[in-house]
């Protein structure tokens, strides 16, 4: 579309033109006593009347009804797994089989009964097929991330949700690498994974998703996921806690109606200048859900060496070695970006 956009010339106005300055001055005062209604100038009163006669004004009772109808979530027949007392939950493996191996050991040592993975097995790191036997060995229960969904459905891209062309450039390198090294059988296995799970932990019901309950690639960052928004989400999904990943940054928000937890990712560091990665351990506490966000050390140097051998971008290797993100920065909200190195 952009190619055909310049076949006609408009008048060029520059500040050197007397005509422009004259017209601009006139624009400053053009609305005295007038309103813009569509493209017309009309007396202010006319606009006020037209606006006042448009739209609805419900009674207070009707408003409450409309709001509760609006907030009623869809029925969800996902079976409930468990009950458990203690589970480990992680996301974003990004082909980091070294970290996955470390996680299986760490979670077992800390007494996790079951381990859940919230998706995004591939991308970023080397040798996607190395992840699969580890998941089987740890009997990890997996849900689909956008990566699995894209690989299984033959999408052209990872559907990560980036808008910056530089971010998409690196996302494409990642995706191509993983896509071409995953067997058809592995991809089919990914496509058969559930999109969500419900897990009973003590007397609480947890909803496990990749991005958010409503969208596989929604970014839920700490500074852009306010409490009232998360409360409504808990209510709509009729659960006591929502567990998600996708952003790469872990956090926990305690709410009046339950908990919201971004469990973090084990594929790359959390953009904090440290080389470790993060996962979460959840336990059924007496009065509340006990949530531990846990740093996980692994052999990041071995990973970096493998990435170099596989000729993955130097920018990715740098992140593994320094703990600072070098790509995918545009999606960060201001607070998260402010503490970022790049």
């Amino acid at each position: 579309m952009a190619d055909s956009m310049d076949h006609k010339t408009f008048r060029r106005l520059t500040t050197e033109d007397d005509a422009f300055v004259r017209e601009y001055r006139q624009r400053l005062t053009a609305h005295r006593g007038m309103a813009t209604l569509g493209e017309k100038l009309v007396p202010l009163e006319e606009f006020r009347r037209a606006a006042a006669s448009s739209g609805r004004a419900l009674t207070e009772g009707q408003r409450e009804e409309a709001a509760s109808r609006f907030l009623a979530g869809p029925a969800d027949s996902t079976p409930v797994e468990g009950p458990f007392e203690r589970i480990a939950v992680f996301g974003g493996v990004y082909n980091n089989h070294f970290a996955l191996e470390a996680l299986l050991e760490d979670a077992a040592r800390r007494g996790a009964e079951t381990i859940y993975c919230l998706g995004d097995l591939g991308g970023f790191g080397p040798h996607p097929e190395k992840v699969r036997p580890l998941l089987a060995q740890g009997e990890v229960q997996v849900i689909q991330g956008n990566y699995e969904e894209s690989l299984a459905s033959g999408r052209e891209d990872c559907n990560c949700g980036y808008t910056d062309p530089r971010d998409n450039h690196f996302a494409e390198i990642s995706y191509r690498y993983t896509e071409s090294r995953c067997s058809a059988e592995f991809k089919a296995w990914m496509g058969a994974l559930p999109l969500r799970r419900r897990v009973r932990l003590g007397d609480r019901e947890l909803l496990l998703v990749h991005g958010s309950p409503r969208r596989i690639n929604e970014f839920l960052f700490h500074s852009s996921s306010p409490a009232p928004f998360l409360e409504a989400m808990l209510q709509q999904n009729r659960c006591d806690a929502i567990l998600c990943t996708h952003t790469g940054l872990q956090w926990h928000r305690q709410l009046s109606g339950g908990d919201a937890i971004n469990v973090g990712v084990i594929g790359r560091p959390a953009n904090d200048g440290a080389t470790h990665v993060w996962y979460s351990m959840l336990s059924a506490g007496r009065n509340r859900l006990e949530v531990e966000l846990l740093p996980l050390e692994y052999d990041f140097e071995a990973l970096a060496r493998e990435m170099v051998r596989e000729e993955l971008p130097a920018e990715f290797v740098e992140t593994i070695q320094t703990g600072w993100w070098t790509t995918c920065l545009e999606i960060l909200p201001p607070n998260e970006r402010a503490v970022s190195r790049f």
Binding site: D6, T29, A30
Partner: protein
Amino acid sequence: MPVAEPVDPNVMDVETKPSLPVGDDRAGSGSEDIGGEVEGSPSAASEAHPEVVLRSLDTLWFQVAGTVCNLACTHCFVSSSPTNRTHEFMTLQQVQSFLDEAAGLGVKEYYFTGGEAFLNPEMEAILEATLRVGPASVLTNGLLLDRQRCERLKALAEGAEYSLDIRISLDGYDAESNDAIRGPGTFDRVLEALSLLAEVELNPVLTVTEVYRELASHEGKERFFELLRGLGLTKPRLKVLPIFQIGAEAERSNAYQSWQRLREGDLPDTEWDHLQCSSCRMVTEKGVWVCPILVNEPQARMGERLADTLEPFPLDHPACWTCHAYGVSCRT
């Protein structure tokens, strides 16, 4: 340096709309057409248009400064100016009552615009109140960002659990091209504001409207990034918006053509999420509107309170076509 070629958004345009004689007095009384005839105006619509369902109320906009602005940009789709009182300032109390209602509806983020938001004398108090319940973004032309205000905004951002974002508008990488849109002297003043923000370590989003076609190109974006880096903003951020051919812009370039309308079946199922009106509403002191674009269209006013506006809305305005064709979101 020559002024870049403006974008012609009318891809299949065959007619040239005559531009108004410059310097005529439009402040006269009665109804007066400032944009020439709008082909395919809503009243001319006869066919069925798709309806957008509000899937969730994620983004709540406030026309917090009404249509009052200290500039009169030639591309402004709400035609804001110092004398435009179509929409008036909102008070802190008005905003607060909508924040209360919004929390109950699970709103995720808040945006403030005008006119020029910082002309509203209560703007900083409004931001402070908002940051207690969610992330806030304020759209500004930067002219009122002096050192003291920048420092206060920095303190606000640091004290808040949720993010505060500041979006500053610029429409060219030099004074010549920018000032021809935004007004004489604005380029230098915006650069000054950007430097001040860099000094207090606030990282604004530069918002660029695609008034010249190369602004949105890869090279165009790089030039803006370089400009920002040069001012000390080491993590440059940019948002490019297409133009809406309504308001002042209808006169600057062209009004919409009759074919630029959405028809039943135009929107594939996957596109609803991309249309901002499927997850936003706009509040002005005159009520709640379907989106931030159509506040000068009385029929786009959906009700008094948010709960009045949770119903579907017909996409029967030509500006809806722009959101569809360009995949626009006014969000950052």
